[in-house]
Point group: none
Chain length 210, copies 2
């Protein structure tokens, strides 16, 4: 009866997947905030304009609130989203999260020029995004635009050799084992200079605020 957790769990089991600490317990957190302020469901209902029953169901993970409902919550309770989402009790941690990804079991994201495989994708709230990329492109001309995203990126060549183009600099030839660290809001692009496709591992930082 829990909102979407069952089917997801089923999926996870079906696909032989493991641990995963993921879905941030929004309901739990809401209840925590409510109790901390000694509010009753009725109080919160007054403040947010949501029905008591609805609030109860949200707290018990029986429904997944619509985004407008979430907005009413944060508006009515005078909190902000990160507060509502941040997992309860960040300080006194008595456990740790971990998420294993076996070779080839990442989340695949194919594009014409690259083939990305997102690693550790089952773990939410990460500060880094790791992924493997198969580099198909063979010439710079295949790109219409620079790749560009906030933050920093670390990259190491796992297979083959590549040429890394970056804005403001000369292209670099990277061989297997070579690595590079750069500001990823600087335009960049990769091509394989091997006869076969090259494989690189990247780790990006993720914009914070939480």
């Amino acid at each position: 009866m829990s909102a979407n957790t069952d089917q997801e769990a089923a999926l996870r089991i079906a696909s032989g997947r493991k641990p995963f600490v993921e879905p941030l317990r929004l309901g739990e957190r809401l209840k925590e905030i409510r109790l901390a302020n000694q509010w009753t469901l009725e109080d919160v209902s007054q403040r947010t304009g949501l029905a008591r029953s609805t609030l109860s169901k949200i707290e018990n993970d029986q429904i997944s609130p619509t985004f407008t409902a979430v907005q009413k919550l944060i508006g009515g309770l005078g909190i902000d989203l990160p507060q509502l989402l941040s997992p309860p009790k960040p300080q006194s941690r008595t456990f740790g999260r971990r998420d294993l990804t076996r070779t080839g079991e990442g989340q695949q994201h194919p594009t014409p020029t690259y083939e990305h495989e997102l690693l550790s994708w089952q773990l939410a709230q990460k500060r880094m995004i790791p992924f493997k990329t198969i580099v198909r492109a063979r010439s710079f001309e295949e790109f219409s635009e620079w790749v560009r995203h906030d933050g920093e990126e670390f990259l190491i060549v796992l297979e083959g050799t590549i040429r890394l183009y970056t804005e403001f600099y000369e292209p670099l030839e990277l061989e297997r084992g070579d690595s590079i660290y750069f500001d990823s809001d600087m335009g960049h692009a990769l091509v394989s200079t091997s006869d076969h496709d090259a494989v690189v591992l990247s780790v990006c930082t993720r914009g914070d605020a939480s």
Copy 2:
């Protein structure tokens, strides 16, 4: 026809409340992100598991996505909530940093059990610390204490096979190509289970305090 603004406004007036929450146009922002990456609705559908039609309606503020839908969005697009909610960023820097490290040219830090090679060590002010480690240890007994440090760690096996011990969990056997992401304040330790030394690549987050 707009997803929630009308009723919310009415409510606010009726209850004499002040508008805390900016009426953040989630749909608009989503479309922005989608176009910035040159994704079609179909692409996003693939990544998130949401229907094309649903995405279209979200973008046009015809529906208010359920929170599980929002989670699928941020999961599938590899972004986080603040990013999805905050309006576009001022951008365009006029330079960028980069630091190349050729194979074996990192800064060496030998210890009895591990041999660390710090990568991109010439670049200061990084948000991530990448390094290669040659794992010499062959049994858990060689450790007197858990390794433990603030933040998060991503690790992938480059050569050989290892066993990863972590607090709170069972040990894991990792083969070449397998990777794992974990909270590094949770105690952890590595041993090689190959006949030769194993090599792993790690990336740690850096505490913003230091």
